[in-house]
């Protein structure tokens, strides 16, 4: 092993620069007034500065673009762009130049070179340029490997490589929460946090529902025909700030009907997030499929189809229930109605509802009245499966507002 082996002088030089978006040159506006000591000197200096905006010299941000000043951060979902330049530093013509750029991630190796054809010859002081782009899809260490092979004038085959390492960071933190509504609707709350160090403009945050659901975004408020974002006019998300998005998912009719109920773990969909940072640097990410555990309804589900909001005291009113067999077996059901302190059921208790097959349902019209004013809870329904001798209790099914009939007349 020859440690002191002289470093080989190559005729070609390889330079790599990451092309983040250029930045706008900022100047520091310092102004004074006519009567101040420097007179109009400061203002004149600013006017003469080519980086200030004509007529708006006091504005810090000019229009002058400057090239990236350092490697910066790169985040998952952004595009990694890099300039690769191979320059002939020597005074001889170099032949058969092949430049290869590969990106090694933890799981794969990608070829990023635009062309794999060799360049026949490169004159002194000329260069071969390539701009590579790669949408970053993995977190962690990435290594850009640039290999250059060429032939010297003497016919000697030469080869060298350079390695550039960079880390890909995660830009967003996404947390979700589901709420199951009684009506089979699912509400999704998604918190998206900017965990980068610069503000982000959220261009798009949308939920792509799975085939079973339709989605309604609840992130805008309709005011006078105009849809205003619930986040106000501030469209950017500061570092470490979190935004909460809300979606309402409704199962599509065919799925709701077919399966009777949606059971177990279901795929809801995924969030698609597009953001922009400095000068329109774009990034896009998706969450994995969001899943939720559908609430268990037991073997028999009783849900309310219709119920009045307000009823009169001691006057009968009708409700419609839907009874669904969520189990795997056929049931033979008996309905019992138990009165509570305030709720009195009309009709016969212990009536046979007949056989109910798995995943099928039946509608039931019931009549009841309340003897107490105020908000009353509808309770006291009992279903017994005569096959298994199992009784299911349904209390607090819904609430109804009970008012005195005289009050109603007056109003």
């Amino acid at each position: 092993m020859d440690v002191n082996q002289p470093k080989q002088e190559h005729l070609l030089a390889l330079k790599v620069m990451r092309l983040t978006k250029p930045t706008l040159f900022t100047n520091i506006p310092v102004t004074c007034e006519e009567r101040d000591l420097p007179g109009n000197l400061f203002n004149q200096l600013m006017k003469d500065d080519p980086s200030t905006v004509n007529g708006a010299e006091t504005l810090m941000l000019g229009e002058m673009l400057t090239l990236p000043q350092n490697f910066g951060n790169i985040f998952l979902g952004e595009t990694f762009s890099s300039y690769i330049s191979v320059h002939n530093d020597s005074n001889q013509i170099v032949k058969d130049i092949l430049v290869k750029a590969d990106l090694q991630t933890s799981s794969q190796r990608l070829n990023l070179s635009a062309s794999s054809a060799a360049v026949a010859e490169l004159k002194p002081d000329c260069c071969i340029d390539d701009v590579i782009h790669h949408e970053v899809k993995e977190i962690g260490t990435h290594i850009l490997v640039c290999a250059v092979s060429y032939t010297t004038q003497m016919g000697e085959k030469m080869y060298f490589r350079k390695f550039f390492k960079f880390q890909v960071l995660k830009p967003l933190d996404v947390k979700t929460k589901f709420y199951n509504a009684e009506t089979d609707e699912v509400f999704l709350e998604a918190q998206i946090q900017n965990i980068t160090t610069s503000p982000m403009f959220m261009e798009k945050v949308s939920l792509e529902p799975s085939i079973m659901y339709n989605v309604a975004e609840l992130n805008t408020v309709d005011t006078a025909g105009e849809r205003a974002s619930t986040f106000g006019s501030r469209t950017h998300l500061q570092p470490m700030d979190t935004r909460q998005y809300l979606y309402c998912l409704k199962p599509k009719q065919e799925f709701a009907e077919k399966a009777g109920v949606i059971k177990g773990v279901t795929v809801i969909g995924k969030l698609d997030i597009v953001w922009k940072t400095n000068l329109g640097e774009r990034g896009r990410l998706q969450t994995s499929q969001l899943q939720r555990m559908a609430p268990g309804y037991g073997d028999v589900r009783l849900s309310l189809e219709t119920i009045p909001d307000t009823v009169n005291l001691e006057e009968p009113f009708d409700i419609t229930c839907k009874i669904t067999n969520c189990s795997e077996r056929t049931m033979d059901l008996v309905l019992e109605m138990c009165n509570t302190n305030s709720i009195h059921w009309c009709g016969v208790s212990g009536r046979q509802l007949g056989k109910l097959h798995p995943s099928s349902s039946l509608h039931l019209a019931l009549t009841l009245l309340s003897s107490v004013q105020g908000l009353q809870s509808v309770s006291g329904l009992r279903l017994t499966d005569t096959f298994l001798k199992r009784t299911y209790e349904y209390d607090d099914i819904a609430q109804v507002c009970v008012i005195s009939s005289e009050v109603k007349k007056e109003s």
Binding site: E63, T66, T141, F163
Partner: protein, 757 residues
């Protein structure tokens, strides 16, 4: 002055040397490592276990930790600055050796498990990730680490962090199998086992609590990934069953390095970038106390030592407040010599009336309630004592004496030799008249450092020199103007910390002694603020440059309120300060105009403050631009045409369409070939289109065309960046730029943009 920066660099290069000195060892390590193909092993494991849905909670948390870690790491591009520590390296080697002994019988999963377990034991005494500076100083061992190994280790870590919940079982299985390999066998780590991956980050305890925290609010962390990546994560490709077999691709990758890259430190090359920081401040906070001795000499040469009245004043505060009106009338005297030089002093009686009108208008300000009470008591009790707490007085003094120096000349000395440097002649504080005239001369010739110095001298003459901070003093119109100029220039030079230091005694610019009413004998009948409005703006803007835009916004809001109130007063037929003074109609008009423009200035500053947060809202921008286009369509002048084209170009830039942006910038050049912005921006676009040579040609052409106008910091920065990208012999070209700069720029030139350092 530059010593700070260069020291840091020295330290860095020293560490580089150490790296290369270590080359032999490293080479052997490389041999082993590359033979093992750890990266691909990881890949295998990733595929076999990467069942992505299962471990979201903990995975996410690891990512979070990763994030925090990485932030401290990513600051530098240098491959040596990694969070890895010596311990881990040792382990890795062990694994590698052991692997060889076992003749590659192990499965991929086991390999990474081992690595992982040993990490665990080692990280226990490793409290925090090392940052760059630590690596540089206290931990030489870590410097010896080779970047390649770091890379490999990081791959390992990455792998470890993916299939989280399976890990505990695997550990149990693997432990009996190969107990020799683990340095951690002596230290059982049961507490870390549930989700042991996290112990890489030495925060095992948090691991257990954190998921609960997440559950607490009912939110479930979600894994985010690039949309097009789904195929890799969601459907693990199992078509790659070979286990420890070195992948041909990687052996090609890394195996060869041993031959080609003899210098291990060369392994990771740095991207062609440079640490050009236009808002950085290399001189801040250094060079402050060093110059203390020189003050007295400057003070003596230009003026007599501070007036005796100041020592009386000093005694006054200690005594608790004898009549202050007495000394006040005397103290401004020593300054009168300088004052005489200043054109526009209010000495001519004929103009006195007119002047007082102007004065009132310009100096108007609304003091706070407290200050106003003090001022009223000064006015009403002229002949008795008014006790004012020392805390309520403004006692400024120079905080550093001399920031003079010509960085351009220093660079010339370094790169072009003494002969060239001698030719560089710029004005300095000694070469001009020691007066406002000289000061203006220095400012207009862009020798701001010298101008700051001259301000300091003039202030020293006024008794507010170095070390005078905290000593009672008196203010005059001129002393405050000098302070304003000095502070403004410091800000212009990006010496924000220095400016902040010297601003500090001024408080919030509302102390009673900063108002004319405080000096009824010196400025009889004059009212309002001695602090120029521009100085208030400067004061309000300063915090944003020091990373506190919120404070700036607060101060600007305060100013906005005062401006609005003054305008309100004027509209109600009152004087600016709300008093019942008769003002002629034309004067009122002039005053309204002045205060409107001042309000506008405050708004501009607020806009700048908000701009500190860069925004990428293309849609809104597009809307604004369209509005502007509509508005200017009728004007049809060349200027507006350029503006429209410029806006369109920027819109395309925002959409990543450099070709179109270039087209619009070029179109502007067809209308106005000397447009610096369009020229520069077109060149930048060319670079993004892969046309380095064309881009250089455009920039060079522009600079040659009119060096006086185009040798601007931003253009130079772009030019030097491209030189660096173009060839390894950029030095000569940069030096040529330095020569060009030397002919034109004063001592305030930001030499960082030449990237010669």
């Amino acid at each position: 002055m530059e010593s700070n920066g260069s020291n840091a660099k020295d330290a860095k290069s020293a560490s580089d040397e150490e790296d290369s000195g270590d080359r032999v060892q490293q080479k052997t390590r490389e041999d082993i490592l590359f033979h093992e193909e750890t990266i691909d092993l990881g890949g295998d494991e990733f595929e076999s276990e990467g069942n992505e849905t299962i471990s979201e909670d903990s995975n996410n948390f690891i990512d979070k930790l990763n994030e925090q870690m990485m932030e401290s790491v990513i600051i530098s591009d240098s491959p040596n600055n990694s969070e890895d520590d010596t311990g881990e390296l040792g382990c890795l080697q062990e694994i590698v050796e052991q692997m060889e002994a076992k003749d590659n019988q192990k499965t991929a999963a086991e390999v990474s498990k081992e690595a992982f377990l040993s990490n665990e034991s080692e990280t226990e005494h490793e409290e925090t990730p090392k940052d760059i500076s630590e690596i540089g100083t206290d931990d030489q061992a870590s410097l010896k680490e080779e970047s390649i190994q770091e890379a490999v280790k990081e791959e390992l870590k990455l792998i470890n962090s993916i299939p989280v919940e399976r890990r505990p079982n695997n550990i149990d299985e693997s432990k009996p199998e190969d107990p020799i390999s683990l340095p951690s066998t002596g230290k059982p780590t049961p507490e870390a086992e549930p989700i042991p991956v996290c112990t890489i980050f030495s925060q095992a305890n948090n691991v257990n609590t954190q998921p609960q925290l997440f559950l607490h609010d009912g939110f479930e962390p979600q894994m985010v990934k690039s949309p097009s990546f789904s195929s890799i994560i969601e459907t693990p490709v199992k078509s790659n069953p070979q286990v420890v077999q070195p992948s041909p691709s990687l052996s090609k990758f890394f195996g060869d390095t041993v031959n080609t890259n003899t210098l291990a430190s060369d392994f990771f090359d740095s991207f062609t970038t440079s640490s050009f920081i236009s808002v950085s401040n290399p001189n801040a906070s250094s060079s402050v106390p060093e110059q203390m001795s020189s003050i007295s000499s400057t003070g003596d040469s230009s003026h007599a030592s501070p007036d005796p009245t100041f020592s009386v004043g000093n005694g006054r505060t200690e005594a608790g407040g004898p009549p202050n009106s007495l000394e006040i009338s005397q103290s401004p005297k020593p300054f009168s010599q300088i004052q005489a030089v200043f054109a526009g002093s209010d000495d001519a009686f004929a103009t006195a009336l007119n002047m007082s009108e102007l004065d009132r208008r310009n100096d108007a300000w609304l003091p706070s309630e407290e200050t106003r009470n003090v001022l009223i008591s000064v006015a009403t009790q002229q002949y008795s004592t008014v006790f004012i707490d020392k805390d309520n007085l403004t006692m400024p003094g120079l905080k550093f004496d001399n920031i003079q120096g010509d960085a351009v000349k220093d660079l010339m000395l370094r790169f072009l030799g003494e002969q060239a440097a001698v030719k560089r002649q710029v004005l300095n504080a000694n070469s001009v008249e020691q007066s406002f005239v000289g000061l203006k001369q220095l400012i207009s010739s862009k020798n701001w450092r010298a101008a700051v110095d001259l301000c300091g001298r003039l202030l020293t003459a006024h008794g507010q020199g170095y070390g005078k901070s905290g000593l009672p003093t008196n203010h005059t119109t001129d002393s405050l103007q000098l302070w304003f100029v000095r502070l403004a220039l410091l800000v212009k030079l990006s010496l924000f910390q220095n400016a902040e230091m010297e601003f500090e005694p001024f408080g919030n610019l509302d102390q009673p002694d900063l108002y004319y009413e405080y000096y009824p004998h010196v400025y009889p009948g004059r009212k309002g603020s001695m602090v120029p409005f521009s100085m208030r703006i400067l004061h309000a803007e300063l915090p944003q440059y020091l990373g506190n835009p919120q404070e700036s916004l607060d101060r600007l809001h305060g100013m906005k309120i005062v401006c609005t109130k003054i305008l309100e007063n004027l509209e109600q037929g009152l004087a600016e300060d709300g008093s019942m003074t008769n003002i002629a109609q034309e004067n009122r008009q002039a005053s309204v105009q002045l205060w409107r423009s001042r309000l506008g200035r405050v708004m501009y500053s607020m806009a700048n403050c908000l701009l500190m947060m860069k925004i990428g809202d293309i849609k809104t921008a597009e809307k604004y631009f369209q509005d502007v286009e509509k508005a200017t369509h009728k004007l049809d002048g060349l200027q507006s045409q350029i503006m429209v084209l410029m806006n369109r170009a920027f819109l395309h830039l925002g959409q990543n369409n450099f070709a179109e942006a270039h087209r619009f910038f070029t179109e502007i050049l067809r209308i106005d070939s000397s447009n610096a912005v369009a020229n520069n921006n077109a060149a930048v676009c060319l670079l993004y289109l892969g046309k380095l040579k064309d881009s250089l040609r455009q920039l060079e052409g522009m600079v040659q065309q009119d060096p006086k106008h185009y040798l601007h910091e931003s253009v130079l920065f772009n030019l030097t960046t491209m030189y660096e990208l173009e060839s390894s012999r950029s030095m000569q070209k940069k030096q040529a730029l330095l020569e060009a700069v030397a002919l034109k720029e004063g001592d305030s030139f930001n030499t960082q943009c030449l990237k010669l350092g």
